[in-house]
């Protein structure tokens, strides 16, 4: 099994390389990047073949590619891979517009290749356990969620994360999709309506996109859920941010802090408390699922349609934030 990496625009590309290398019978075919200097430097760092263009890498007939471009540039590479019969794992969000997300899904469907969206929370052992207990009836019917996916300003990793065109927006675009996907996965239901408010108070002098946001979704079955997607964590908080939710059911509530598997570190070097995560590597499980789906010729656990649904909700949230009223999907 040969897998290629398309672009290092997203820093997850590095984690995916390591995840691929940890899998038996998987070869990193090579890496390509439109920024040749960046691509060559990562190729060297990871001792991987460098392809001068995406087309060259895809023409070398990998079984699958992992697309890590800027959000707005996912679609053409998904289409390129699909045209060459190459399976695709695409970084989230799948696209910055509904049209692009639909085109990506359509291209892979027509070509008969797999399209997987990189939603690593689907592979979080705490979330897998809660979902199993929910489906087993331990908690009773779900009524609502009170959820957060907050973070620091993501420019620490890459500057384009706050570019309105390349990222497709700010905090709403960055931090809506994970929780939408988790709730759809838990409930087996679709979002019917979204209300959102956003502001730009955090980092107002540094960025042009929204940095604060609150959303209230309503599913078709009546379950409602808030998402706090704000980039409200200061750079000196103990970690990058987190993902939490309270799931309220007929029997009470389940309070979840998905990344609360840490050792608190106080060191002379850092001079502030930090949380060192010891929980399981979700990117490893995500990449393993992509490879297994290709090998077993089956749909992956999280699909392109899942990515599309999350993009639809996010774009509806932007519309709601503009008009001040809930928006139906």
């Amino acid at each position: 099994m040969r897998i290629g990496i398309l672009s290092f625009a997203h820093h997850h590309a590095e984690a995916y390389i390591q995840a691929l290398r940890a899998l038996p019978d998987v070869t990193l075919l090579g890496v390509a990047d439109e920024d040749a200097a960046r691509g060559r430097s990562f190729a060297e760092a990871y001792n991987a073949p460098f392809y001068p263009s995406y087309a060259d890498l895809v023409a070398a007939k990998p079984d699958g590619v992992i697309i890590c471009t800027e959000n707005a540039h996912h679609r053409p590479l998904v289409e390129l891979a699909a045209d060459h019969g190459v399976h695709v794992l695409c970084e989230k969000p799948l696209a910055t517009t509904v049209a692009d997300a639909q085109a990506a899904v359509g291209a892979c469907q027509r070509a008969g290749v797999l399209l997987m969206t990189a939603f690593p929370m689907r592979f979080s052992p705490p979330l897998l356990e809660i979902r199993a207990r929910l489906l087993a009836g331990d908690f009773g019917p779900v009524y609502c969620f009170n959820a957060t996916n907050q973070g620091e300003l993501p420019t620490k990793h890459r500057a384009w994360f706050v570019d309105p065109v390349l990222a497709g927006g700010g905090a709403l675009m960055d931090h809506t999709v994970h929780l939408v996907d988790i709730m759809r996965w838990f409930l087996g239901d679709e979002v019917a309506e979204v209300y959102a408010q956003s502001n730009r108070i955090f980092h107002a002098d540094e960025v042009q996109v929204e940095t604060g946001g609150l959303e209230l979704l309503t599913f078709r079955n009546g379950v409602f859920a808030t998402i706090d997607c704000s980039w409200c964590r200061p750079p000196y908080w103990p970690t990058w941010g987190g993902l939490t939710f309270e799931m309220v059911t007929e029997r009470g509530a389940v309070v979840v802090d998905a990344f609360k598997q840490n050792v608190t570190v106080y060191s002379h070097r850092l001079q502030r408390p930090t949380w060192a995560f010891w929980g399981s590597d979700m990117n490893q499980a995500l990449v393993a699922e992509f490879v297994a789906a290709i090998r077993e010729q089956r749909a992956p656990a999280v699909t392109g349609e899942d990515g599309l649904r999350a993009v639809e909700v996010t774009l509806a949230a932007y519309e709601s934030a503009r008009c001040g009223q809930p928006v139906a999907l």
């Binding site: 502001n199 108070i201 946001g213 706090d228 309270e246 309220v248 009470g252």
Partner: protein, 331 residues
Amino acid sequence: MRVGIVGVGFMGTTHAAGWVATPAQLVGCVAETEAEARPLAEQYRMRVYPDLASLLPDVDVVDICTPTHLHAVQILQAAAAGKAIICEKPLTRTVAEGRQVVATCREAGVPLLVAHVVRFFPEYALAQQLVAGGEIGRPGVIRLSRGSYRPKKPVGNWFLDEARSGGILLDMMIHDYDYARWLAGDVESVYAKKISAGHPEATVDYGLAILKHQSGALSHIAGAWAYPPPTFRTRFEIAGDRGLLEFDSDDTAPIRTLIRKTGGGDAPDVGLPSSPVSESPYTTQIKEFYRTLTEGTPCRVSAEDGLAAVQIAEAALESARTGQAVPVSAL
């Protein structure tokens, strides 16, 4: 200063304990029946009055601790008698009533103080001081949560009757609407949902509200009547452009008891977090009210604040009913 208490439930009893810590004189109390009033009256050597009208001539201050839907008529009655008034939150059940009682008390020249006790809890008072002092810069997103179990009363549970209490979106969440306003100023619009709107048969209730402040700040308010007794958990997170404040009552408990019940076999005990402080926030509140009434010192919560909180709650109720965001007009 002679004080009379109207309503002898949990709040009337708590306020009575607060008054004892002031030089004020607890004169009497009123309940629905004289029998209900007797235990509290005996504890504090008060007289039991058959009704508010008979209490009024003997007091300077009326402390109203009755169910919410009774507040307006009792405030108006006390104001007409020229008495100073303390009223448990929510100030009134509706905005119309609230406007009327605030205007009437102003015209009558009688003080009207609203017992938004959260402003007196040390953790909340401290956080407000830090925000007001600029420690975290301009607030951007505020998250306030308050969760417990469904109020339990054997008969006539008015808490669960939305017509009388306003339900979770008013009775429970008004604390945090008021606190959000204290931190980030007036509110421009409200969008809210609650379980009981779609599931009247549910045994739990939970409300979620998004407030947009005129300042541009956003507040997320959550209220739960969903947890197993005796849970009572409060949390706040105030994110500003220059810092962040976090508080979780579960994480700030100085005492956690892991003591086996004697004679109770091996059944695990429930560890109750507790934060003992030298003075109950309810007493801090009553003392501040006392100083305001006797010395004219400023009180941290005004009648208008009480009305503004009811206004947010009414918008939340309307939003939960209509599914639309509801604008909040200037008072």
